[in-house]
């Protein structure tokens, strides 16, 4: 066993799920987890609980926050000032990371990225999609955001400024999309159904019903 891991050649596909022989890194995951459990760093129950918490997170949480912002101006103001504190005020704890909510308006369209890695508001959106972590998006969205948005079917008018926000581990962004016309007076639950993950990343906008 090498003391440093760096030279295992693999293809880009994730390993097949549980069928066939274990891959090198699947084997490593099992070995490391077992050793850490034996050393008392954490328990097997902790691993299960962490996975359950991960599975429980989905873009529905973020959509709830956006719908609240659309229907409660005081909450929206608070969200734009301090995203973490505003979420905490409605019972959504984001931990130590700083959440910055950026609002789309008639003149500004926001989009988020993590060019260096894959930082993402996972407490509000769940785990990031593959493309968010991949080279094409990370490289290009900061240089040619309009072209990238077009690949998602989103055409931003020339007179609208596109702002790209590059996340870090400690500072994560979420986009508050514009509320679609014709949805004034809707209940928050109904509005939340219009708010998709991609709207909150900023690569699409909510569909007008």
């Amino acid at each position: 066993m090498a003391s440093h891991v760096h030279d295992q050649a693999h293809d880009h596909r994730p390993p097949p799920d549980e069928d066939g022989p274990l891959s090198y890194y699947e084997t490593m995951e099992i070995a490391v987890r077992e050793i850490l459990i034996e050393k008392g760093v954490f328990g097997a129950d902790d691993v299960r609980a962490a996975i359950e918490a991960m599975d429980a997170r989905s873009p529905a949480k973020g959509a709830e926050v956006v719908a609240r912002a659309w229907t409660d101006p005081a909450f929206k103001d608070a969200l734009l000032v301090d995203g973490s504190a505003a979420c905490a005020s409605i019972g959504i704890e984001l931990g130590p990371l700083r959440l910055i909510a950026v609002e789309n308006t008639a003149t500004v369209h926001n989009v988020i990225v993590c060019t260096l890695c894959s930082c993402y508001p996972r407490n509000l959106l769940g785990l990031p999609p593959d493309w968010y972590k991949a080279k094409a998006y990370r490289s290009r969205v900061v240089r040619e955001p309009r072209a990238v948005l077009r690949e998602f079917g989103t055409e931003v008018p020339d007179d609208v400024t596109v702002r790209v926000h590059d996340s870090t581990a400690d500072m994560r962004y979420i986009v508050v999309p514009r509320q679609p016309a014709g949805t004034e007076g809707w209940e928050p639950e109904r509005l939340a159904a219009l708010v998709t993950r991609d709207c909150m990343i900023g690569v699409t906008v909510p569909k007008t019903p």
Partner: protein, 110 residues
């Protein structure tokens, strides 16, 4: 482009690249376990590895490995290298355990 001295392989903002591949795969159980491992190791009450150490470890994998490995393979390599460097686990015990796991050939989903 892409060969700037001082620019790591991870530092790809602004470089040319192909179109965005929008197909998504569901996370495999082992990928979720790697994620959970990092969540636990980085939790405020444990702080065995910080998220910055995870990222540094990924950035140090080298261009060839970085590009060849899948996302959670990079995480696993970085987590393991950091645990070894910090002396949390030894390469002997890791090597022995990996050989055992391989021999068992079981899923080990915990």
């Amino acid at each position: 482009m892409g060969n700037d001295p001082g620019r790591g392989v991870h530092d790809m903002g602004g470089l040319p690249a192909g179109s965005v591949e929008r197909a998504e795969h569901a996370h495999a159980p082992w990928e979720k376990r790697v994620d959970a491992l990092m969540v636990l190791l980085g939790s405020p009450e444990r702080r065995v590895i910080t998220v910055d150490q995870l990222r540094r470890g990924i950035e140090q994998l080298g261009t060839e490995a970085y590009e060849a490995m899948s996302y959670y393979e990079r995480w696993m390599a970085s987590i393991t290298n950091t645990l070894l460097a910090e002396g949390v686990i030894s390469s002997d015990e890791l090597g022995r355990r990996m050989a055992e796991v391989e021999k068992r050939g079981e899923e080990g989903a915990g």
